[in-house]
Amino acid sequence: MSRKLFKFKGGVHPPEHKAESNKRPIHTAPLPPKLVIPLRQHIGNPAKPVVEVGDHVLKGQLIGAADGYISTAVHASSSGTVTAIGPALVPHISGLPDDCITIEVDGRDEWIARTPLDYRAMEPANLRMRLRDMGIAGLGGAVFPSAVKLDPGAAHHCPTLIINGGECEPWITCDDLLMRTRADGILQGVAIMRHLLGSTEVLVGIEDNKPEAIAAMRVAAAKMDFPVEVIAVPAHYPGGGAKQMIEVLTGKQVPSGKLSTDIGIQVFNVGTAYALARAVHHGEPLISRLVTVTGHVLRPQNFEVLFGTPLHWLIALAGERGGTTGVLMGGPMMGLPMPNLDVPVVKATNCILVKSAELFPPLPKALPCIRCTRCADACPAELQPQELFRFAKSGDFGRAQEYHLFDCIECGCCSYVCPSHIPLVDYYRYAKSEIWAREKEKRASDLARDRHEFRLFRLEREKKEKAEKLAAKAQAKRAEMATEPAAEGAASDTDAKKALIAAALARAQAKKAEVAPKNTDNLSPDTQHEIEEIEARRAKIRELARQPLSEDKS
């Protein structure tokens, strides 16, 4: 156990506040009357709904299918009836709605048929496909589809597998409790990951402020038929960040702009490993997770929560108190304020932190930057936050990118130490989203330019083709005329034209006179019904089209 540990640069030591919520056992949150399950819970394409309003669904039934490679499925968290498919409030700081499937639960909590997978016998690609369809995504915060990360790619194996039990954010204890109580399950999941990635070294990094979790994981690790090293790492925010965990355990840094797999390392959160074990050994898709409810509540604790459960339901379970000043999803360093408490728990929800003026006093007003570089000392990405701030503030996004804005992990260390109390991370987020938006705009305008240029080219080509055709026709006519007597030809030409027009007119009149039945008259009831259905669909499409576009497909 005497592994040499390394240190990452920067970082801070905020007060931990773990003891509030890690004393109570895990409770299973009771079923809420209604579950709202967003289709976009992960990074990548949102899932596509595969049920319709009115359908009865069972617990664990696929309701949204993965759309593409970087995507995962979503499932009904309990049995009930689908009452709505469409925009609903989701846990996002903007307070904007997104596509969700709403299920009115029937209270029976009836499972679909669950079949465990024999993962060793399965083709790895098939297994990954199955995991994608079981909705497995990273539960550490980024919610990246796990199936993608479990693909060792061209290298065919990933020598080092790191299981991240760091949980460095203050207040959050869900991984702590998971490791204490479900260590065996986590390691079963690790075995599957190891199988898929072909790893030879398995390291579990846990911050040393969780001795019970470390002990439990060591006991479970000893039972495995492969070596697993459970390592206590110093508690140091953001030591639970994937890159930081890699550096602490191996001394290696993930090259800027590359993935950890490029240096033969893959990192998974403990919760993801557990979810993987449930999926493979029990046939259960990802429909619930542990959520810490803490802060300004009567009984801070961890709940096993079905996705789609509204936040207020959980806060009520933990005991609501007066004087709440807001609710965060996540911890105090990186969490996002929730605009509304009706929003559901999703795969990314590790913590619900209820704020009060006492626990989280309002932040003091910002002063100008004095370039003291405390932020640079605290930055684990080794950036120069004071310069990034200057560029972001003045809208000099090009320079911000040159100074590696996109290496920022938004951990909040810089804002935490800033003596001027500048919301630095806000500036970086603003600059990043501005840069993305501009790139998107640029792509759209490039596309428009190409299409316009092609149109001009097409018009030109058509004109030329027409001219050529005309020229050819004229030539043919001239050749024809050369064979016939000139005068006669001219006369017959005009005559023929006149005759043709007359004939066409007559035909048109005849058609008009004839009161032809429309094709919509005299229909069989079946066809009539069909037409009505089509009309209804049309109306719906029109309705949808009138609504704001949900996604830019460009």
């Binding site: 976009r40 904007l96 989203s433 501005e434 428009a448 330019r449 830019d552």
Partner: protein, 183 residues
């Protein structure tokens, strides 16, 4: 005296050669000005500037025939970028050419559409699909919102729908940090 003249002459020749050589050696194959301007223009191809598309307007700016403030879709920001590129003073947008509007795309009411293809012919980026006497529809991802299809429609079935903000389009706002007193 003569020596001084010689020194100056030789110096001039040497410096001239070096400059001439570096002019050839380090020649920057830059985009012609019109292309750089075109890259800034929004490519809506709407013609509000009075030119038949963005490229002709870019060429007109490059040759000094047109002002930089005639492009409403590019807005204030686009005008400023042009001013910066050309090293001229920014000036307010010329309102006779229209005012900036929220970004919209065209929508065809298919119940009313008679399939006349007039809009298809008007669309500068071929973003309308359909054929004669067939229903037409807008390819939303390609539509630039130029509104050129609205006027030709004989049955007024085309309307402009503003693009609403949604999650994928949502942006972090510039943080509001009040240092100065509110007046």
């Amino acid at each position: 005296m003569l020596a001084a003249i010689w020194v100056m002459v030789i110096l001039a020749i040497v410096v001239g050669v070096v400059l001439g050589w570096s002019a050839v050696r380090f020649k920057v194959e830059g985009n012609p000005l019109a292309e750089k301007i075109d890259a800034i223009l929004p490519q809506t191809q709407c013609g509000q500037c009075g030119f038949p598309g963005c490229r002709p307007y870019a060429e007109a700016i490059a040759s000094g025939e047109a002002d930089i403030n005639l492009c409403p879709p590019g807005g204030e920001e686009g005008m400023k970028k042009l001013a910066e590129l050309l090293g001229v003073e920014p000036k307010p947008l010329d309102e006779t050419h229209g005012t900036p509007k929220p970004k919209s795309i065209a929508f065809i009411d298919e119940q009313i559409c008679i399939g006349c293809t007039l809009c298809i012919q008007a669309c500068p980026v071929d973003a309308i699909s359909g054929a004669a006497k067939q229903m037409h529809t807008i390819i939303a991802s390609e539509c630039t919102g130029c509104e050129l299809c609205v006027a030709p429609c004989p049955v007024n079935c085309i309307s402009m729908v503003p693009i609403a903000e949604d999650l994928p389009r949502w942006k972090w706002k510039h943080p509001v940090v009040m240092l100065k007193k509110m007046s």
